[in-house]
């Protein structure tokens, strides 16, 4: 009697342990990789991950689960640099991958050559979102510098989105007037019109759409198109400026992690999938401009032609931009004290 009542719990524990063991073996047989990405790609990568799992299973027989982590681009890079075990990183600006090269060689120095199109599966650009009917008649960059216009932009110090907006305004003025003093004067006037600086792109969207603050929101094209879809096209209009900036979203393999976890093959296949026609099609569906010419042509209606400035081509590359504009006491710091 006593022996039986003692035995029973032990038997149960043993039984449970055995099951847990079986379960964990099943789980372990499945490869998992972690994609650490920036703020507004949640919806995109959810679709990509499902599609990739199906394709990969068919091709190699390996079952794979891709986990995703999102947040401000630089903050995410910082987490990876300080130990978050990402197999791949998918960011919105090159400096956030370069930092992983500098900090302990997590990413190969030649990461741009590992994948097609300089390891950039898609681009987007910076556009204006105005209130329905464009009551303040905002057509192009000079309108943002007019007095009495409130411009909503995320903080260029903490967000890639804000950084591209600043650079687009700078590039526009530089292109038009041909000298740096004029460009500096122009961005000073634009940023003097900013009543709220949110930390990231989604915060700026909330301020503009939910708090009814500001006359124009300057943000990524994909975010503007998403706002139109989510909040109704009857509330806002999208305005394409005469010149904008090419925001390239680079991807890379985290060498140290894939070697340690033995996931190099799977992670590489995952990033390659982004450049395949199927991956590019999903990218276009989420309002990002795909690199594949055929896919882009098929979605032409969604992406109007804009003259684009490129950081690498026209502004001397990220390294120069970073040290001249966004470093301590750089041009951005100087103009923000002057307001």
């Amino acid at each position: 009697m006593l022996a039986a009542s003692l035995f029973r719990p032990i038997a149960w524990v043993g039984f449970t342990c055995a099951w847990l063991l079986v379960l964990s073996v099943v789980v372990l047989a499945q490869t998992t990789i972690l994609n650490v990405s920036y703020d507004v790609t949640r919806e995109l990568y959810k679709d990509i991950n499902t599609a990739f799992a199906t394709v990969h299973k068919k091709r190699t027989g390996e079952a794979v689960t891709v986990n995703q982590s999102h947040g401000g681009s630089s903050r995410q890079a910082l987490s990876v640099a300080s130990g978050l075990e990402a197999d791949v990183v998918t960011m919105n600006q090159a400096p956030d991958i370069d930092i992983l090269v500098e900090r302990g060689g997590l990413v190969a120095k030649a990461w741009r050559e590992r994948f097609p199109h300089g390891a950039v599966p898609y681009t987007t650009t910076t556009v204006f979102l105005v209130r329905k009917g464009n009551p303040k008649n905002i057509k192009d960059w000079p309108d943002l510098a007019r007095s009495g216009i409130q411009v909503i932009v995320p903080n260029p110090k903490t967000s890639g989105n804000g950084r591209y907006t600043y650079l687009a305004a700078w590039g526009f003025a530089l292109h038009k007037d041909g000298n740096e003093a004029a460009a500096r004067e122009f961005v000073t006037r634009v940023f003097a019109n900013v009543p709220v600086l949110d930390g990231g792109g989604r915060g700026a969207t909330t301020t503009f759409t939910q708090r009814d603050t500001g006359d124009v929101l300057v943000t990524f094209e994909n975010e503007a198109l998403l706002i139109g879809k989510e909040l109704g096209a009857d509330k806002f209009d999208i305005v394409y400026p005469s010149v904008s900036i090419e925001a390239a979203a680079p991807v890379a393999l985290v060498e140290t992690v894939v070697d340690k976890r033995g996931t190099r093959k799977t992670a590489t296949a995952y990033l390659e999938f982004l450049f395949s026609p199927a991956g590019q099609e999903i990218i276009a569906r989420h309002y990002f401009r795909p690199q594949d010419r055929n896919v882009l042509a098929a979605n032409k209606a969604r992406f109007p032609d804009v003259a684009l400035i490129s950081v690498e081509r026209d502004l001397g590359g990220w390294e120069k931009v970073q040290s001249a504009h966004f470093a301590d006491n750089g041009i951005y710091d100087q103009i923000s004290v002057k307001r």
Partner: protein
């Protein structure tokens, strides 16, 4: 023969040992890491970093708004505590529990809620903005957010002392011919003063370090509505650890000096009222 006489209370060595080890592990080591990281800077660089106009403006806003918010909290916290202790009314327990809400609420939620209310299309903002009172996205918003998170500190430190306050003292004062105002000024307030000061200090200290709620309502405009913790986070996000810790060091030193001064004031009043009592 023993050289030391045993203490009256046993366990002094043990409790002091635990106090020192615990304080070192939990408070001193993390704080000294801040100082150590900063020591990588030359003095000129440190000075330039921590006294640039933008950083100076943020000190003014952070400490000024915290001070103002804590003072307002003292006034209204005192009235609230008085109401809860001296009067009974329906749903009193519910009101009592409500006061703790700012303790428990994630600060980001508080920030978003306050912004939604005070923005120009919000419940209150739509009436205040036409009157020229712009609360959200400016320094007044910062004060409102800090008032919200600081209030329970004042109420919760004053309330128990007020409960223990002997009514007989006030009655005695009344029989001796003191007016209502004299009783409050010379009997009630002096007894409550140490508790008020503690509540003020806690609310102020909490406000100085607050980030989560303020960031949503402040607007974060350089030179106007940037709080110091935001500048620290901004530097961290640019991988500038040293710059972040330099500003953090200055904040630590100012906060510590202020807390030390308030503690000194408290000790001084304790001594003074103690002498009066004997």
């Amino acid at each position: 023969m023993r050289r030391t006489t045993p203490r009256v209370l046993p366990g002094f060595g043990l409790s002091l040992g635990i106090t020192v080890v615990y304080l070192t592990l939990i408070v001193l080591i993390p704080l000294s890491a801040v100082f150590l990281k900063t020591s990588g800077l030359t003095f000129e660089r440190f000075w330039a970093l921590t006294t640039s106009p933008r950083v100076l403006a943020s000190y003014r806003l952070t400490f000024g708004a915290s001070l103002l918010a804590a003072l307002i909290d003292v006034v209204f916290g005192l009235i609230l505590a008085w109401g809860l202790v001296r009067h009974s009314f329906p749903l009193k327990r519910l009101v009592d529990a409500l006061i703790d809400l700012p303790f428990a609420l994630p600060t980001a939620v508080a920030g978003i809620a306050l912004t939604a209310i005070y923005a120009k299309n919000g419940w209150l903002g739509q009436y205040l903005e036409p009157l020229g009172l712009k609360i959200a996205f400016g320094p007044p918003g910062v004060v409102v957010a800090l008032m919200f998170i600081g209030l329970p500190f004042v109420v919760r430190t004053v309330q128990p002392v007020l409960e223990d306050l002997e009514l007989e003292l006030e009655e005695a004062a009344a029989t001796l011919g003191a007016s209502r105002w004299q009783i409050v000024r010379s009997v009630v307030l002096p007894t409550l003063f140490p508790a008020i000061l503690t509540g003020f200090t806690l609310a102020f200290a909490r406000a100085v370090g607050e980030y989560g709620s303020v960031i949503f309502i402040a607007g974060n405009i350089p030179m106007v509505s940037e709080i110091t913790p935001l500048l620290i986070i901004t530097r961290l996000e640019q991988y500038d650890y040293v710059g972040a810790t330099a500003i953090a060091t200055v904040m630590l030193v100012i906060s510590f000096a202020l807390l030390l001064a308030i503690n000194g004031l408290q000790a001084w009043t304790a001594r003074r009222t103690g002498r009066l009592a004997t």
